[in-house]
Symmetry: C2
Subunit: 243 residues, 2 copies
DNA sequence: CGTCGGGTTGATAACTTTCAAATTTCGTGG
DNA sequence: CCACGAAATTTGAAAGTTATCAACCCGACG
């Protein structure tokens, strides 16, 4: 039952009470294991998308390309996350997904997933909950773009990412390994690469966080939380109600 | 069967093939019809939320309040939309919902909705599709905030709103009635009220759109679409796949 | 009337981008 | 193991966009 050790199962079970049966159905869903090379899109805007992936290892991000050539990253996906879940009901994807690192992912047929929804309510809820949490994260991201300045935005983002990674055991209060470049930050946070660089230096010189050499280090976690106005509680989002 | 005439049913049926049975289950879901006065929150951040509403008449918006006092509007809800759908699986809402106009809405118990999911797959898909579309809209909103300047942002927003309203028969290419104030635009688009006012004047003087007296008028629809770089096709999002 | 919620305008300040160029890091082939 | 080129990071200066502050206007309403 290697399933139980996967980041995916770990995440789901930490929020829902899943029976043995549920877990079996879950594990039956997983079909081929696929690898993707970094930098090459896994999902393309406007293309049909009939499969969902569960990220087992590696990071990816979903983004939109504007006609102007600008790129907006909508969110980053880390181990345990779904890829393309939102678009299973659309005939074509409305976003692109690109790996940041080499990726290992399990492929799930969209139709199988939908079928499972009526077979096991508990699993359905857990998966729906994951989808809702994703939307919630996008909304949070939106709030940051709308109402925070560059420094708060970056600080908040790094904290949020840390909180997500901690859920799957990939971060601590000290920091985490992070394969993102400053360009990724810029495109996610709606800033120019140059400005991201400057603000990052600022945060480092203030002794709050260091973003360097593929690693995020929280130099003063408490102060950073205050500075960014961060309430990490959305991650406790309480999971699907367990009646 | 007044259901069939509601904006809600109109929207769902325009995307999914629903049988008579489906429509009956749908209509059984609707319980009390409730009214809400404008300006008073219907759903409060951090409060328990065990019901979902379907907006029958009036406009509302969901927003987040930052500790700094700033307000970020996440999205506007118009007739036919769900209110609080995303949060049915969380124990408490992570956003506030406030009516802009007097509201009439049908109350649906979250648990009933979830039960219906296993009863009728077609309906479940349709509802899920609606939820996915909502998330898609939030993502689009996010892209606008991240990568468009004030004028494009406003132009794009007014077009998008128009497209949504057209789906429920409340707008045409000429324009639509719009109860929003400039403050609403500012808080939705991450701009200051003053700047919104200026840009609105600009757009009006360019002969593109007029936002005045509770009405949005497309003075030159084609030119506005070009200016805003708008592709109205996300609304065709093709609905739930109909196998 | 007087007030209050929108809306409007000008002047100034703050924040961010853009352009340009130098420096460092890192993977790959020799 | 080193050299080389590409990618990523860094810094400065100038230009642009948007926010903030401060008035003022206007129509609705008690």
């Amino acid at each position: 039952m290697q399933m139980l050790d996967s980041p995916f199962a770990r995440k789901l079970t930490s929020f829902a009470t899943l029976s043995h049966t549920d877990l079996n159905i879950l594990s039956d869903l997983h079909q081929r294991r696929r690898k993707f090379a970094m930098g090459r899109d896994m999902v393309r805007q406007g293309h049909p998308n009939r499969t969902v992936y569960v990220l087992a290892d590696g990071w990816a991000f979903s983004y939109v390309l504007l006609p102007s050539g600008a790129r907006q990253i909508v969110d980053f996906r880390i181990p345990g996350d779904f890829l393309g879940l939102r678009s299973i009901l659309f005939r074509r994807s409305d976003q692109n997904v690109e790996p940041i690192t080499p990726i290992e992912a399990s492929e799930v047929l969209a139709s199988d997933l939908i079928d499972a929804f009526s077979k096991t309510p508990a699993l359905a809820k857990a998966v729906l909950w994951a989808a809702s949490r994703d939307e919630s994260m996008v909304a949070d991201h939106l709030v940051g773009l709308g109402r925070r300045n560059a420094a708060e935005r970056i600080a908040h983002f790094l904290l949020e990412l840390g909180a997500r990674l901690r859920l799957v055991g990939l971060a601590s209060n000290a920091g985490y390994a992070c394969p993102l470049t400053q360009y990724h930050l810029a495109d996610a946070l709606g800033l120019s690469d140059v400005h991201v660089n400057r603000v990052l230096r600022q945060l480092r010189e203030m002794g709050l966080v260091t973003f360097q050499n593929g690693r995020v280090t929280f130099d003063d976690f408490a102060a950073l939380v205050t500075f960014a106005d961060f309430e990490g509680d959305y991650l406790d989002h309480n999971g699907p109600a367990r009646q």
